[in-house]
């Protein structure tokens, strides 16, 4: 069967199980858009309003489903607009495939109209990328690209296809069999000696703690994590992206770790004699000052990316492998243990934290972000997929919306991309149409990608947008308050009337200024089958605590004030 390059791209997408892609047309990708028209019945194309939105939608889709999310853009500016989304996906190991048009091969290198060296630009922010120069390589390249994106440590892959390659014809046959790349062998199982070394450290530990990261969910090791924790009675601290790896109401889960993590988790890490780091990478937001980090603890580090081991924190036992596989190797030999004293000590810290719970504050006439988020949690029965933007609302979501299931908190952790939340929520809803999806965003970040309101309205996609509006870039303001003597340069925001803005897009909306209006508004959003927008006007100058200032020791936290000490 002879097909054009564009048709081959469509066939490959179908072969890989893709049903939806997010994109924006343009000159160099037009032949492919012409093919999209032919495949319209099997492949839904979502027209975004800015290519950055397409990349975040593909990312949101990928994070919600674990499948590869696909975005598509034209050459030059179309492709460079994907850059932020690719970098976001790279940092958080999210499998996305970006297809970009390129100027025809004879024009490459001539500074042609809308020409950019896209493989050059995206080289450090993709797991791998391709420039396809022969239509006969296209099918194999697509197959390789999917394989690389979704296996090992997942990540974004970009395939740049010149216009003449899209138009050229060749015999199409989807390559059969497994992809075998000579230089690509993600590790899977651990050596027996590594397993026994890890078990020995666990056996010897008196104050162990598990640090559970994103890898738990990427590897599907939720059950194994739970067994490890329960059988050896080891408390579990979660990273931001690890939330959902173990139900947060589980008695052994002691909260999120790191800069805005719970004191119970951070203090436990500093006092532990063993850290069992699973699918996490000791990011600086997790460790604080490395020189004083977990000095009493030996470390077991299991990650699928060998280069993560010994990168920031030295491992006594470092295992490069797939978490589910490695934990499955370990579990049969794991002896039951109990660490009553240790767990009791952590409980004390947890109790102290709950005294400082923001929800205990009396705040007549004021609406706090934590209250909004916790009420959304309550009125969605804790079952929604929440997709956040970046900043104070993101950290408060992590603190006040407990997640019970994997892949229900989608957030830009590594890159901290403002503007991620809303488009990623649209992508997540396309991936999980049966789930309730909430975009919880700040007034700053939302305005970076709010053009996608048109996309949401055009697709009538059922995403509920909760804007936490404090008329500030809240997290930056917090840093200015703490470290720059309250010089609020460039952080107060002039905002549009978000409700009128939603009106303009014919999106149903509400504004909430009082706590007792929250339940109604949430219900209003849930009842409408389509996008809705709720603006929560919250306290202008809130602080997010606990906080470990950048570079400070992990135990050196600014704590939440107790009720009565002021908030």
């Amino acid at each position: 069967m002879k097909l054009t390059g564009s048709e081959i791209i469509m066939e490959c997408l179908l072969q890989e199980g893709v049903h939806v892609m997010f994109g924006y047309p343009g000159g160099a990708i037009l032949p492919t858009y012409d093919a999209i028209a032919k495949y319209d019945d099997r492949l839904h194309h979502v027209l975004v309003r800015h290519e950055q939105g397409a990349s975040h939608m593909a990312d949101g889709y990928a994070r919600a489903t674990g499948e590869v999310g696909v975005c598509i853009a034209t050459s030059g500016p179309g492709a460079t607009n994907l850059v932020t989304g690719l970098a976001t996906a790279m940092m958080d190991s999210s499998p996305i495939l970006a297809i970009t048009g390129q100027v025809p091969i004879p024009a490459i290198g001539s500074d042609a109209f809308q020409e950019t060296d896209v493989t050059g630009v995206t080289l450090p922010i993709t797991k791998h990328n391709y420039l396809v120069t022969d239509v006969r390589d296209l099918a194999y390249t697509m197959k390789e690209a999917f394989h690389i994106a979704r296996t090992g440590r997942p990540g974004p892959v970009l395939v740049d296809v010149p216009k003449d390659v899209q138009l050229a014809e060749t015999e199409f046959e989807y390559p059969e069999g497994e992809i075998r790349l000579p230089g690509y062998h993600p590790p899977s199982s651990a050596e027996e000696s590594e397993v026994s070394a890890a078990l020995r450290l666990i056996e010897e530990a008196e104050r162990p703690i598990i640090l559970a990261g994103h890898g738990i969910m990427m590897s599907g090791a939720m059950q194994e994590l739970r067994e490890l924790s329960e059988r050896a009675q080891i408390p579990v601290a979660l990273t931001l992206l690890g939330k959902g790896g173990m139900p947060e109401d589980h008695p052994l889960v002691i909260g999120m770790m790191g800069m805005h993590g719970e004191a119970s988790a951070n203090l436990a890490i500093q006092e532990a004699d063993l850290l069992i780091a699973l699918g996490m990478r000791f990011d600086d937001r997790v460790t604080g000052n490395l020189k004083t980090y977990a000095l009493n603890a030996r470390k077991i580090h299991i990650d699928i990316d060998r280069s993560e081991i010994n990168k920031n924190v030295r491992a006594d036992v470092g295992i490069a492998g797939d978490l589910k596989t490695v934990l499955t190797q370990m579990l049969p030999k794991l002896e039951p243990k109990s660490h009553q004293q240790w767990i009791a000590r952590i409980r004390d810290w947890l109790e102290d934290s709950s005294e400082r719970d923001i929800l205990n504050y009396e705040t007549p006439g004021r609406l706090l972000t934590a209250q909004v988020i916790n009420d959304i949690w309550k009125h969605t029965q804790g079952e929604a997929i929440t997709v956040t933007d970046v900043g104070q609302h993101q950290m408060l979501e992590a603190q006040y919306y407990p997640h019970q299931r994997p892949a229900t908190l989608l957030t830009s952790g590594g890159l901290g991309t403002m503007g991620f939340g809303f488009p990623a929520a649209i992508g997540a809803k396309f991936g999980k149409p049966e789930e309730e999806v909430w975009a919880i965003v700040g007034d700053g970040g939302f305005q970076m990608t709010l053009c996608e309101l048109a996309t949401a309205a055009q697709e009538n996609i059922n995403v509920n947008i909760a804007i936490i509006n404090n008329f500030f870039l809240g997290m930056v303001r917090q840093w200015q308050e703490l470290f720059y003597e309250k010089r609020y340069e460039a952080t107060p925001l002039f905002n549009p009337d978000f409700c009128k803005l939603a009106d303009a897009y014919r999106i149903p909306n509400r504004r909430v200024t009082e706590r007792d209006e929250i339940e109604d508004a949430v219900q209003f959003a849930r009842d409408i089958d389509g996008p809705t927008l709720i603006e929560f006007v919250v306290e202008k100058e809130e602080m997010v605590y606990p906080m470990v200032p950048a570079g400070a020791d992990l135990h050196d936290m600014k704590r939440r004030p107790k009720p009565g000490e002021g908030s």
Binding site: T119, P124, L131, R180, G183, D305, R306, S307, K311
Partner: protein, 194 residues
Amino acid sequence: MTSQVDINKVTVVALVENEPGVLNRIASLFRRRAFNIDSLTVGRTHKPHISRMTIRVVAGPEYARKIATNLQKLVNVIDVRVLDNEPHVERDLALIKVRNDDAESRNTITEICDRYPARIVDVGPKVAIIEMVGTEEILEEFIDEVRPTGIVEMIRTGVVSMGRGTRIHDTNFTRRDLAKIQDELSAGGNGNVI
């Protein structure tokens, strides 16, 4: 002035696919991870689709392993070894243009070249070109001796290394070609030590 060879140098050897852009990927990796490298050489192997790189790093073996694990992450990098303590042969080649315009300098140059694995490959009335091959240490020593005579131009290839004996660093991979790739790889693994 003597230039000392840093005893803390470690050698990383990598087999890479000989494809457009691979060197760019590797250079980009070194830059973004802020890896300091001393020298890097690339050349073809006996298999035209595979190139081999020798990377010298002024650092401890741990740092070299960091470079190795990051290199290994690149899809086009087939295999990476850190030649640490392992017995190996290494060679660096220098072309050195020296002043040669009086009898004294001519005699000195000839005398020094006799004591080293060096040859004079071009002679003119004013300058001569010496070709010198050897380990990095011997090269440094040689250059120090020649320097007083007056070096006017110099180029070095950088070190290339190969493990001694049966420490074979090679691969059966031939070309990124679907039909072939299956057979080739099912016939054996990559970079086997025999």
